[in-house]
């Protein structure tokens, strides 16, 4: 293998310093002076990191490739990649063209920082691979003509950055800003601050710190009288039923549907039950016999958190996990056992998986769900978000069956005659089951054991009822003029549909 002498290494490193300082570092100053672009506090840290990489390179140029210099470059490269990923994450997932500040050669600066730090790590690796082992020299080396130019050029560009930093961030104790103003050499436009960036509590994941709900064990106050709506009328439980066969796992939703068309298998399909053990059961209308079942492989492909929702979509079975991932299944007389082995851990060998993907929401983003309903009139699936300490909203999201993409979303308002207590809101309800009948969404909340009736046309809650005696309601299904409220323990409360 061709090796690299220390003399050639110094020349090469001098050019690295020149390119690094003239390109991303000097170019950033040029963007500021010519176009008025000011770096934010995160941009400043990434730019400083690149300048520091140039400085460490000057150390190698002057004193040779000592381990502590190489170690420092690796640390700066690794930290720079992390910084760039953290910064870019704010913008990478936005829509096309929606970056932050102006692009530089078609790419935004935070993405450039990512690329450059990654290249630095690669270059260090290549140089270490090629560097010839020579006895460690004593004392400083003569940098040579290119080296001297690199040092002077580096100092000039660093000085220009210092000037820009003084203008946009000010002297200590002022620090950079999250949303900086346009760069100007006119002192009247200089804004220095140090309070904006230190506000807010320290958090590892910020708004992504969302505790995962357990659909079979919702910890919420079940007392209807403590709810946000004052004195809701009471719906009495007319009777109790039970799912006959023992299910593996705790029940997390129940749906009722029409029998399958002839020739598609599964004659007489009526009830769909899911459990927190990723099991999907198709039962007869009397809930006394399991006709089909599967246990989904939740770690294959799309990540499934515990199942929390179930709905019939014609003869298709739709099941939903708390993270809004869904699976579409269908009973089939003839299934390919080899194909189904990939999707299921256990199966009755007469169900096939049609699709596994995720719902994407806008207003319900970063919120989990515990319910799934199907609106046959609109051919849309419906979810209702559950609140978390970070995000307190009750969002009804509707997804077109044709492409399983968000069709509309709304935050229901209170209809006439319904009044929430002071500083109370619908967001306090934890909807664990939902079903659509005649254009109305019936949503059962484990918190305050309340049945909400939401008119889908007016997007408002038209009625709310206390259902006393419920324990861990996890789902709701419609049967004629009745509603069946399923509990985690497998018992089913029968109430009159209001």
């Amino acid at each position: 293998m061709t090796t690299l002498s220390e003399t050639r290494l110094r020349t090469l490193l001098a050019w690295v310093v020149i390119v690094l300082t003239a390109g991303p570092v000097g170019g950033a100053v040029w963007l500021g002076v010519v176009y008025g672009e000011s770096p934010c506090i995160l941009c400043w840290a990434q730019r400083t990191s690149m300048v520091l990489i140039g400085l460490v390179t000057l150390f190698v140029l002057r004193y040779g490739p000592r381990p502590r210099y190489l170690g420092m470059v690796v640390l700066l490269g690794a930290w720079g990649v992390f910084m760039s990923l953290r910064h870019s994450a704010l913008h990478l997932a936005r829509d096309v063209g929606q970056g932050f500040a102006a692009p530089y050669l078609g790419v935004h600066t935070y993405a450039w920082a990512w690329f450059i730090h990654w290249v630095v790590l690669g270059v260090v690796g290549v140089l270490l691979l090629l560097l010839r082992e020579e006895p460690a020299g004593l004392g400083p080396r003569e940098p040579g003509r290119v080296g001297r130019f690199a040092i002077v050029f580096f100092l000039l560009v660093a000085a220009a950055n210092a000037l820009q930093a003084f203008v946009t961030t000010g002297p200590p104790p002022f620090i950079g800003q999250s949303d900086p103003l346009r760069f100007s050499l006119n002192p009247r436009h200089w804004v220095w601050m140090n309070h904006e960036e230190i506000e807010g509590r320290i958090s590892l994941r910020g708004s992504w710190t969302i505790p995962r709900p357990d659909p079979a064990n919702i910890t919420a106050d079940p007392d209807p009288s403590h709810g946000p709506l004052a004195n809701p009328p009471v719906l009495a439980v007319q009777g109790w039923e039970r799912i006959g066969p023992a299910l593996d796992g705790r029940l997390t939703d129940l749906a009722l549907g029409s029998p399958s068309p002839a020739g598609r298998g599964g004659q007489g399909v009526r009830a769909l039950a899911v459990t927190d053990d990723f099991r999907v059961y198709v039962l007869d209308s009397a809930l006394s016999q399991v006709q089909h079942f599967v246990q989904l492989d939740h770690q294959f492909s799309v990540d499934l958190t515990p199942l929390a929702g179930a709905a019939f979509v014609g003869d298709t079975l739709a099941v939903l996990s708390t993270n809004k991932s869904y699976v579409l299944l269908r009973p089939e007389a003839n299934v390919d056992a080899g194909r189904e082995w990939r999707y299921f851990r256990e199966t009755s060998s007469d169900i096939t998986e049609l699709r596994r993907s995720r719902f994407a929401t806008v207003r319900a983003r970063q919120m989990y769900v515990l319910s799934l309903a199907y609106d046959a009139a609109a051919d849309e699936l419906i979810t209702v978000s559950v609140p978390s300490p970070r995000h307190r909203r009750l969002v009804v999201s509707r997804f077109a069956r044709s492409d399983m993409t968000l069709a509309s979303e709304f935050l229901p308002r209170l209809g006439p005659g319904l009044v929430a207590g002071t500083d109370r809101s619908l967001a306090e309800y934890v909807v664990t089951g939902a079903v659509v009948v005649d254009g109305r969404l019936y949503a059962i909340s484990a918190a305050y054991s309340t049945l909400l009736v939401i008119d889908l046309a007016t997007k408002s809650v038209t009625a709310a009822f206390a259902v006393a005696g419920l324990e861990q309601p996890v789902g709701i299904a419609a049967r004629g003029a009745q509603l069946l409220v399923a509990q985690a323990d497998g018992r089913i409360a029968v109430i009159e549909r209001p």
């Binding site: 004193y63 002077v152 660093a158 003084f166 620090i175 994941r205």
Partner: protein
């Protein structure tokens, strides 16, 4: 503070160029500048230290 950090960098660069025998001081300035840079980034991201994406 960013301005102050660039002064540290300029100082270290000047030592490398004009006072190469003061390597130890220059390296300490480099370390101090790295720590200050990391601290400023952590201040800017303290409400969400890791990237706001699915981890």
């Amino acid at each position: 503070m960013e301005f102050f950090n660039f002064l540290l960098i300029l100082w270290a660069g000047w030592l490398i160029w004009r006072r190469p025998e003061k390597e130890r001081l220059a390296f300490r300035l480099l370390v101090a500048s790295c720590l200050l840079m990391a601290l400023l980034f952590l201040i800017g991201t303290h409400t969400s230290l890791v990237p706001g994406v699915n981890l």
